[in-house]
């Protein structure tokens, strides 16, 4: 008997089932296909402008910083201003996301742009979120050449651009969008849900930012909700 067979046999003996019962199989199939929503907090169920305000408050409550850009064209200047304010070298890395590649980076001529995944020696990176959740101030990033996962964790400063229209009320909305984008039952290698910069409270429960991931998380919300 293989380990797999042994685990299933013990499990089914304990549950008093054979595994072939049609009603059980139907119940599981229905749950997986219907993926019912449970309790969704009222907190995020707001009209677009108030939803954006809630998102901003929650990002700040999680020790992130946030600003708005009227249009995507304003992002390069905002990135340069941020790095200058932090006294960091004028260098930033991003992936192949067409929305980032199309930005007028020449509008911030001092800024050097690097492309591709990080090898751990970058101080700042820019990613484009695929969605955000107002309920908790959470950013949702998906892996791939557009936004390499290493950019989310290795640099000291992580700048995340998100379209105002992509800020959802709740997690359930984001889950539905993932299903729509990747197909039912299919996911990218990694979905990162990020709420604030990295931290640890492991020493005397004193909260410290920048444990292994970025010390600073800066969100730029583009456009109107």
């Amino acid at each position: 008997m293989t380990a797999r067979e042994l685990v299933f046999a013990t499990l089914r003996r304990s549950l008093g089932v054979s595994g072939t019962e049609a009603p059980r199989r139907a119940a599981v199939a229905a749950r997986l296909a219907g993926h019912p929503r449970g309790v969704v907090p009222a907190r995020g169920q707001l009209p677009p402008q108030q939803r954006l305000d809630l998102f901003a408050r929650m990002v700040e409550a999680a020790a992130g910083t946030i600003e708005r850009a009227a249009s995507a064209a304003d992002v390069p200047v905002a990135v340069a201003a941020l790095l200058r304010g932090l006294n960091l070298p004028m260098r930033v890395r991003h992936g192949d996301d067409p929305r980032l590649a199309a930005l007028p980076w020449q509008s911030a001529p001092a800024l050097e742009i690097l492309r591709g995944p990080s090898d751990g020696h970058d101080l700042a990176a820019v990613s484009h979120a695929s969605a955000a959740v107002a309920e908790t101030g959470t950013l949702v990033l998906t892996s791939g050449p557009d936004n390499p996962t290493t950019l989310n964790f290795l640099p000291d400063v992580h700048i995340v651009v998100v379209d105002a229209a992509d800020i959802a009320s709740d997690f359930e909305t984001v889950m539905a969008r993932l299903r729509e984008r990747y197909g039912t039952g299919t996911m990218p290698r990694t979905v990162n849900m990020i709420t604030g910069p990295s931290r640890s409270a492991d020493i005397e429960q004193t909260l410290l930012l920048g444990a292994h991931g970025p010390r600073k998380l800066h969100v730029i919300v583009v456009g109107d909700p």
Binding site: V28, L32, A42, T149, G185, P188
Partner: protein, 484 residues
């Protein structure tokens, strides 16, 4: 040296507890648990009106999944495999260790980085890997500190909660020999910076990364980790192989179910709305991915859980390892996690440990409770922890594992309790005798057969009557205001 730290000292709970109470460093460190965790959880729970409804929802999801676990497991396996992942079943801790070692050897691994995993502690993975020529490096700050000290975690989400910053500084100076003696490490920020620097090199050099999983999603074949530091993400993104070590009961049906559980997890654990990083991983890197591991293995540990699901401790398998029960436990506040003697401390450990290592070894743990009920009050999946500790006490008694004095005392009590008139008579007599004997001082500093009580505090002398006789007299008298 390292092996000794993983042999259960649960049978010596009483000695462990005594030593813990006498340890000034530990008592200093434990003060923070009671103050911080409780207040933070309360605040964040009060901010979310739906929190109690979410706890019901979380409980129902876990109950549903357990009832259909065989079928959700099949669905999970199908989705995981379809997306390039490999699933390994481990019946025992030994199986899991060997499977992981084989994967490491196939990858030619010399060092592996590790995210925090209680299941890895359960199977004693670090010592096993180290004994077989693979160096494990813990990357969660708390786990890293206790690895330097060759200790077990003392808390399931805050492994080094038993230490003061001065102790951590001493350990860093002992192990990080590159540190200049005049380098200031007095503040937690400087300790963190030092750990970040050392571990960053380890992340980049590791051949294999091992993480646990907070949840497995059947609908998509996904594993989920929830962390604050980002160490788990570096662990699973940078090496060429990612191994997930998870136990059977981590399964949930769908992404929507995951959302429900995430809403109660961080709030119950650290009092955050969300932990910083919630990461969903599915399979290895895709053909056009520029980063991520080339191989993705999930080692699924049973270790008795498939049997447990059929017994009276099934509800324990709902546990999502948030630590709220220990954060609110007066016994944990007093003695800390190491006194429990194995991997899982506090109320959840008092119920789970006997299932995993046997009631003969862990019999003291379900007895280390005042039954105050706070653990059940705060449990996000509403596990009836006090009731289950009582069940363990009953089993211990039935199996004649409790000491003769306890058994004798309980037998004598049962004799009287089954004979109410005799009980009343004996109690009345005892109350009168003790009233007479203690009249002078109103209390006893020593009583025969009650030294367990009087060694630590005085026993108040009874007033001369039993409660029942007082009640009877009270009800015999006409009540004021009632018709004559």
């Amino acid at each position: 040296m390292t092996l000794a730290s993983h042999i259960a000292t649960s049978p010596r709970f009483k000695d462990n507890a005594k030593a813990a109470l006498a340890d000034p460093d530990l008592q200093n460190a434990l003060k923070f648990v009671e103050v911080n965790f409780i207040a933070r959880r309360r605040e964040v729970a009060e901010r979310l009106p739906e929190f109690e409804a979410l706890r019901d929802s979380a409980r129902d999801i876990k109950d549903h999944t357990l009832a259909y676990l065989d079928l959700y497991l099949e669905a999970y396996e199908e989705r995981l495999t379809a997306q390039g992942g490999r699933l390994h079943y481990a019946v025992s801790a030994d199986d899991a260790r060997r499977i992981i070692l084989d994967i490491c050897r196939d990858a030619g691994a010399r060092t592996v980085t590790k995210g925090k995993s209680m299941v890895a502690e359960e199977i004693g993975l670090n010592d096993f890997l180290e004994g077989n020529g693979v160096t494990p490096v813990e990357t969660d700050l708390g786990e890293y500190i206790i690895q330097l000290r060759h200790e077990l975690p003392s808390h399931i989400i805050a492994p080094a909660v038993h230490l003061t910053k001065a102790q951590v500084e001493d350990d860093f100076r002992r192990v990080h020999t590159h540190l200049a003696p005049d380098r200031n490490l007095a503040e937690p920020t400087s300790l963190l910076a030092e750990a970040r620097g050392v571990l960053r090199e380890k992340f980049l050099a590791a051949d294999v990364g091992i993480t646990g999983a907070n949840f497995l999603v059947a609908e998509t074949g996904t594993s989920v980790i929830v962390t604050n530091e980002g160490n788990g993400d570096l662990t699973q993104t940078l090496p060429k192989v990612h191994i997930v070590l998870a136990s059977l009961e981590k399964l949930v049906p769908t992404l929507e179910d995951l959302a429900q559980l995430l809403r109660v997890l961080a709030r119950s654990a650290t009092g955050q709305e969300m932990s910083v990083y919630t990461t969903l991983s599915t399979g290895p890197r895709r053909a056009d991915d520029p980063d991520g591991p080339g191989a993705y293995h999930v080692v699924l540990l049973d270790n008795g859980r498939s049997s447990m699901i059929g017994g009276e401790f099934r509800d324990m398998l709902r546990c999502i390892r948030c630590g709220a029960c220990m954060n609110h436990c007066p016994v944990y506040h007093a003695v800390g996690g190491h006194a429990y003697g194995w991997v899982y401390p506090g109320p959840m450990g008092a119920v789970l440990t006997p299932s995993l290592i046997g009631i003969d070894k862990a019999g003291h743990l379900p007895n280390a409770s005042t039954f105050c009920g706070r653990c059940e009050d705060v449990c996000p999946v509403r596990i009836p922890l006090p009731r289950m500790m009582r069940s363990w006490r009953e089993r211990e008694f039935e199996r004649h594992l409790s000491p003769a004095t306890v058994r004798g005392g309980l037998a004598a009590w049962a004799f009287f309790a089954k004979r109410p008139r005799l009980y009343g008579l004996a109690a009345a007599m005892a109350a009168r005798v003790l009233h007479w004997a203690g009249a002078a001082r109103g209390r006893f500093s020593w009583l025969p057969l009650a030294s367990g009580w009087t060694r630590y505090r005085d026993f108040p002398a009874p007033q001369g009557e039993t409660f029942q006789s007082r009640w009877k007299h009270r009800n015999d008298r006409p009540r004021p205001g009632s018709p004559p």
